[in-house]
């Protein structure tokens, strides 16, 4: 697609016409090239590896659900005066679509984990039976939480940042949405607002982490994720993960990462980057989310990402 064709397509779509085939073809090309240039890690694929079929599946799902179903193509076109900007937004959009899917697929066993946590940990105690059983902190208030969803979500937000989703290069099953300690911190924090049922705790988790209700885990090809130590292809996979991690970072996040690794004080870093200290906190949290998705491989990948940045920063 040329810049002139894009301008024409954009004007037509903003005026209410259907997006032309050439624009959708450019979107398909974005997905294909993003995968070929290692812009997306393999575990973002619905089948664990990138193949032509996986690529086509992702494209179709992204277009159907996000671009057309949720109307985001129009929103992206409105904000993108040029093809260059549109392609960047398309990359961000497809990446976010895959991350959201990954998050949803990993939320199914959460109920069971919360129930086990409440039962096994001495800091929690319950009264009542069945689904109506009210859980509370052993040293906390017995008053039931009877506020609305809005208040529940406010309490959940007030617990601060959580590192969600971890992925292990050698994982053969789904990784937890929240690591055990993080889940414990969340449940402890939310029960600080009053006694509640597991259903209410689950509701808080769903709202805070934008999880869909799901009866069963989505299909997941565990073999596709299964990899063994000493795999000759592992170095190449790690290298691709470094590239995809770099691709996921913004320019400012890369600079924040460099600054933090050199132990530059936050205020000084904010001054250097011309932003507020709040923005630095936000970027740190975003980096942590990206790294959390790498799970136990995060330290190795992070080291190589930093090496790549240091070399170019000399």
């Amino acid at each position: 697609m040329t810049a002139a064709e894009y301008r024409q397509a954009r004007s037509a779509a903003i005026a209410g016409c259907d997006p032309p085939a050439s624009l959708m073809e450019d979107c398909r090309e974005t997905v294909r090239l993003l995968i070929r240039t290692a812009g997306l890690p393999p575990f973002y694929s619905p089948v664990g590896v990138w193949s032509e079929e996986a690529c086509e599946e992702v494209f179709a799902d992204w277009v159907a659900h996000r671009l057309i179903g949720r109307g985001q193509l129009l929103g992206m076109l409105q904000r993108s005066p040029t093809l260059q900007v549109f392609r960047r937004m398309a990359e961000t959009s497809v990446r976010q679509h895959l991350i959201d899917g990954l998050q949803r697929s990993q939320s199914a066993n959460l109920y069971e984990r919360v129930e086990r946590l409440l039962r096994d940990e001495q800091r929690f105690t319950g009264a009542g039976a069945g689904r109506g059983r009210l859980w509370r902190l052993a040293d906390g208030s017995t008053e039931p939480f009877d506020d609305d969803d809005r208040r529940l979500l406010a309490v959940a937000w007030a617990l601060g940042d959580f590192h969600v989703i971890r992925y292990d290069l050698d994982a053969k099953k789904l990784s937890p949405l929240l690591e055990a300690e993080e889940l414990k911190r969340f449940v402890t924090g939310i029960l600080g607002a009053g006694a509640m049922t597991i259903g209410t705790i689950m509701r808080a988790l769903q709202m805070r982490f934008s999880l869909d209700d799901q009866a069963s885990p989505s299909a997941f090809d565990s073999e596709a994720h299964a990899r063994t130590g000493g795999d000759p292809g592992e170095a190449a996979t790690v290298s691709d993960l470094v590239t995809s991690t770099l691709a996921e970072l913004t320019e400012r996040q890369a600079k924040v990462l460099l600054g933090l690794s050199e132990e530059v004080p936050v205020r000084e870093l904010a001054a250097q980057l011309g932003c507020s200290t709040g923005t630095i906190s936000h970027e740190k949290a975003q980096i942590a989310e990206i790294l959390a998705r790498l799970g136990t491989d995060a330290p190795q990948i992070l080291n190589q990402v930093l090496d790549a940045l240091f070399i170019e920063n000399k």
């Binding site: 810049a3 993003l34 985001q72 929103g75 093809l83 392609r87 406010a154 970072l249 923005t279």
Partner: protein, 321 residues
């Protein structure tokens, strides 16, 4: 400017195409160094700066796109108020993740996609920053946004807020707002830089000091007398008599300010305030006023207005407005 798309960054010829960006961006340099040559073909066409689409100017309830010199993405915003020189806009965001009690949610049937009206991030932009109308809000939605705006800036609760309030310092939405405010700052900068004073001289003086340029070097750069310019910056001189319009236009451009209706209005105000009829020269009049030994000659308002109108019209033409 933001980073290019990865698929373009890795395309053949990207190094020369994105030379300026790569010079400043360590992240993109690292990516280019790791990537083989991609297949995407880059269009060499240089994109012109967005300009306002022809048609009626924005009015309350319209949804327009807005640009700023240092942003490559447009911002979509609802027009809350519209004047001849500026527009009060409320940004409409596609990212709804950080919704709180100072945001209003707009369902998909309003704009065609779910959006978040960031009430707290509303501010003014110059009319020269409007690009194109993309939608129109219903009266009901305009009312909801306007009431939300009035309530928020009166310190009251926003009705129909999209999210729960922030009740603790560790809420990550606080940092997300800080990041969004930083992201929107370039959008609002052209307006705020032209509102540090009510006359053009002090506004340009503020811009020069922000740019850290010495008066002597500055006057040489724009080709004017340093003493006259200093008096202009101090709001003590009539630019109609002392500063040619071309010099003003050059100063505005050199300082990176937007050539705008607001700058013209400021020039008009400067002339209107300091134009002295019948004085042999402006500097003498200025000196008398400063010392306070003699009252300023009686100004004839009509003549001053005529001079201000002429000066403003010439500047407007120079800006190409």
């Amino acid at each position: 400017m933001s980073c290019p798309a990865i698929t373009e960054l890795c395309a053949a010829g990207a190094s020369s195409r994105f030379e300026d960006h790569l010079r400043d961006c360590v992240r993109c340099r690292a990516l280019v160094a790791r990537s083989g040559k991609g297949e995407r073909l880059l269009d060499d066409a240089t994109e012109p700066q967005p300009t306002a689409a022809p048609g009626p100017p924005p009015k309350p309830g319209d949804v327009w796109t807005f640009w700023a010199p240092t942003l490559d993405e447009l911002v979509v915003g609802a027009v809350i108020e519209a004047g001849s020189a500026d527009v009060l806009l409320m940004p409409l965001l596609m990212q709804t993740r950080w919704a709180a009690d100072a945001d209003i949610g707009l369902a998909q049937d309003v704009l065609g996609y779910e959006a978040l009206a960031a009430v707290w991030a509303s501010d003014r932009v110059l009319v020269e920053q409007v690009v194109e109308a993309v939608s129109v809000l219903s009266e009901v939605h305009l009312q909801v946004l306007t009431r939300g705006y009035d309530a928020f800036f009166a310190g009251e609760q926003v009705e129909a807020a999209a999210g729960p309030p922030v009740i603790g310092d560790s809420d990550p939405r606080l940092a997300a707002y800080a990041a969004l405010a930083d992201q929107l700052r370039p959008l609002y900068a052209p307006w705020s830089l032209l509102h540090v004073a009510d006359e053009l001289g002090p506004v340009l003086g503020h811009g020069r000091q922000e740019a850290d340029v010495e008066l002597e070097a500055w006057s040489e750069q724009i080709g004017t007398d340093a003493r006259a310019w200093a008096a202009f910056e101090a709001a003590e001189i009539d630019p109609y008599e002392a500063i040619p319009v071309k010099t003003i236009a050059r100063a505005v451009r050199c300082l990176g300010l937007l050539q705008s209706r607001r700058a013209v209005d400021l020039a008009h105000a400067s002339v209107l305030e300091h134009h002295v009829v019948g004085s042999p020269s402006a500097p003498k009049a200025m000196a008398r006023r400063r010392k306070g030994v003699a009252p300023a000659p009686r100004r004839q308002q009509d003549t001053a207005r005529e001079a201000a109108d002429r000066y403003a019209a010439a500047l407007e033409a120079e800006f190409g407005l």
